[in-house]
Symmetry: C2
Amino acid sequence: MAQFINSKEDLVTQAIDGLIACSGGALQRLDGYPHIKVVTRSDWDNSKVALISGGGSGHEPSHAGFVGPGMLTAAVCGEVFASPSVEAVLAGILAVTGKQGCLLIVKNYTGDRLNFGLAAERARALGRKVEMVVVDDDIALPDLPQPRGVAGTLFVHKIAGALAEQGEPLETVAAAARTVIEKVASLGTSLDTCTVPGSPKEDRIPAGKAELGLGIHGEPGVEHVPFIGADDAMMRVLEKLRSQADAKNCVALLNNLGSTTPLEMSVLSNAIADSGIANFVIGPAPMMTSLDMHGFSVSILPVDEKELEALQQPVPMAAWPGLFSLSGVATQPLPDGLTPIAPIPSKNENTKATLEHIADLLIDAEPALNALDAKSGDGDTGSTLATAARALKGSLDRMPLADLTQLFPALGNELSQTMGGSSGVILAIFFNAAGDACAGGANVEDALQAGMDRVSQVGGAKVGDRTMIDALQPGLSALQNGLKSAAEAARSGADGTANIHRAKAGRAAYVPSENLKGHNDPGAEAVALVFEGLARGL
Amino acid sequence: MAQFINSKEDLVTQAIDGLIACSGGALQRLDGYPHIKVVTRSDWDNSKVALISGGGSGHEPSHAGFVGPGMLTAAVCGEVFASPSVEAVLAGILAVTGKQGCLLIVKNYTGDRLNFGLAAERARALGRKVEMVVVDDDIALPDLPQPRGVAGTLFVHKIAGALAEQGEPLETVAAAARTVIEKVASLGTSLDTCTVPGSPKEDRIPAGKAELGLGIHGEPGVEHVPFIGADDAMMRVLEKLRSQADAKNCVALLNNLGSTTPLEMSVLSNAIADSGIANFVIGPAPMMTSLDMHGFSVSILPVDEKELEALQQPVPMAAWPGLFSLSGVATQPLPDGLTPIAPIPSKNENTKATLEHIADLLIDAEPALNALDAKSGDGDTGSTLATAARALKGSLDRMPLADLTQLFPALGNELSQTMGGSSGVILAIFFNAAGDACAGGANVEDALQAGMDRVSQVGGAKVGDRTMIDALQPGLSALQNGLKSAAEAARSGADGTANIHRAKAGRAAYVPSENLKGHNDPGAEAVALVFEGLARGL
């Protein structure tokens, strides 16, 4: 899979330089490329306890994105999914550690433990005061002697970071970090694996399944579980975390593992809010990612007042999403003035049958119109019209069917409420204008023509622009000669749109001409299908 | 493609509720689901100019994520890629517009223009003071009469929002918005299309190509261009924007279109910093996404002092990444104490030939060991060892080959500098301990055994844990009977790891037993291959 990188070799160094360049001078790095990749705070004066974390890259914004006042002093970055070397960690320690000493915050992976551990030994041999904590928050494999460190690490960064920034001594900062590690628990789930740069993507999750209890380095998950939807996926994660959430104040950290969209993350936020598992939330945001993994993790931390306060301290790094109370959804009543005066229903079997017929024609045409729209747009013209047609059929008993002057605007109001996109408004304009014309004494044909004229004026489209008007205009013009003539004229107009390779209005105007060639405009096609259906009779 | 949603119908309403639930009480919504989806500031008192934006969903965090002090007062959300209805926009206007009036900020799409435009008319008819601006920043199609509105809209939100927050009158706020719209230009590029929920993904971008000049609703790009890498892709975007960047102060807004990883976005940040096109940057961050599109866009705005100040004003919404100056990459020199004292080179042709032989064996085994590692890990064992072996071969002339007491730690230091991951450290521990033993008078076999004991102790692994020790321990034990015996013992140990279905140490400990069955541990296999190669002779 193609990715926005230049080469595997330069990937991490270029990414670090990009991060630093966009930091507004807040970050700098050690001059040790390519082996030594250490990002540090530019404003650091060694006067407080330094916090150092790091590990393999591919988890961005961890860890360099959290370097700054109130969180990390330095991040030691390895290549993608590979621990940094002892020398790199040692360089980080020596660069930022003053008399107050430093705390190494390490995720529990053999490589990180070894490299950070040996670097700590070498730094101590050089006279530095170094403490190290190992985060092992993953509960995916409950019987594992060495659980992995995953997104719960962020709690340690933030709480220890706030204390260090306040000037607390190393012993206090390290003890607070160990308490957090003792309490925090995390679990992740995913719909797809990650893409390691330069390697093919593994395709190990079957359709209809999700992986539960995965790692952040492409390690397979503990189990494949059925994937039913977002709420169910969140429930499966939370049920394993719930026993950890036994406290007055609980914080849930909702982490995007990579390529889950903000829309999906918000649906998951809704599920977590409904679950009642926590009363505070951090995220949703990408914090400890696994490259482009399409998944999420939840970390739960029961907190005391001091920890809550430390988590609430604002920090200037954009990657930190902040902590917020999880609340119900506050609503305010709809304002007055929205509802047009409701028409008085009346009956006309003939009009009703005609409207039902038109609605059925559009419902039947749904797949064909969607397919046509997919050639030049987002493939939803058929669904938009069919949805509105279904709603229209259900509303006919509320309609003033016996009075066209009332019926036209009522149809417009109905369609503008049930149709999304521009179609609803265009039809509302059409029918409102037709109603106006009726009220002014016009017959049906003239009223419809008045509607079309108004649409053309507001929407800025005319015949030849490759819109529904290419069928509607000739169809309406021919209507005085009967429905059969109108149908033929509309069909001819619709088919002519296949030769218009440059749309001038509507969404197709944004589409290259090659994509338009040989396909009718879906709006014009819909108009032609309706005229033809009406000409065939009920 | 599976997504973390529950149903297409509830997608947008659930996502909005999730956003509100995680806002810490900062957001609320109108009680008009499902048709009316309007998110508003909870702290709004109608005393200033209200800013209202919106449009189809699928562009998160736009627009609801930018509702808050200093940006939007309300966001009117449609279904995915579908404009909200006139009623929804009208509800938003009536809910938040006080005596100071409101500004509608609309992206230039027919649907949005029509719905917001008609709602503005209806609100004016009800006595509200309403101005509307239409953002048309996309330069993908330079000859289009109606350019699209894309991520440049964020500049309008932020600058108009800062002015409104300061209490400026509607005329001033609207004029500032129009000035921004006049100046801003945007262009996007992508490696893959977006996945519309409930629809199959279109596969229209050929391998080796990128789409340039795409829209944010899945509309095809203007052209397919060769994709060479991140720097080239950024250059193709910037060269079309450069003519717009003619000012003393220019701001680049670097927008993630969806599923581009933070790592890739930082590589792109590096490219934009190097280009010199702007001296300020907003992002990289997802601001105006197109669902999960794997792409990015750049928006360029030349700014005066007042606009710069407005963009710099902090806002509490996590989705706004802030504005930073684009700077060079500041470095600090490496600290003292990193470099171990260099050994004095010496010659021994026999030792050199043996080390070269071992290195060649590992280089030859690269693909086989990678394949084996892919069964239970991240598939890089072979590459890690081969890379180190190549570096080792290049370093032999610098090595103290005539003195094992010096050679062992020198090998350890060399390997710990050139190997990533845990392997480098484990071998450093191994050789440092072997050197210590040599210095204490041990022979080669005993020194190597001492190295292995230390690795076992620090790494926490013993025979039977499915690590390299399963081959190394028996191999070293049999070494006193000659290389042939050692090779047989190591092979037997390595093959035995295929029957160990539960790793207790190393990365394989995180892998389910099904993935381990029948495959040798790659570390143990590497040890066996080396012993076998040595037994065969040079």
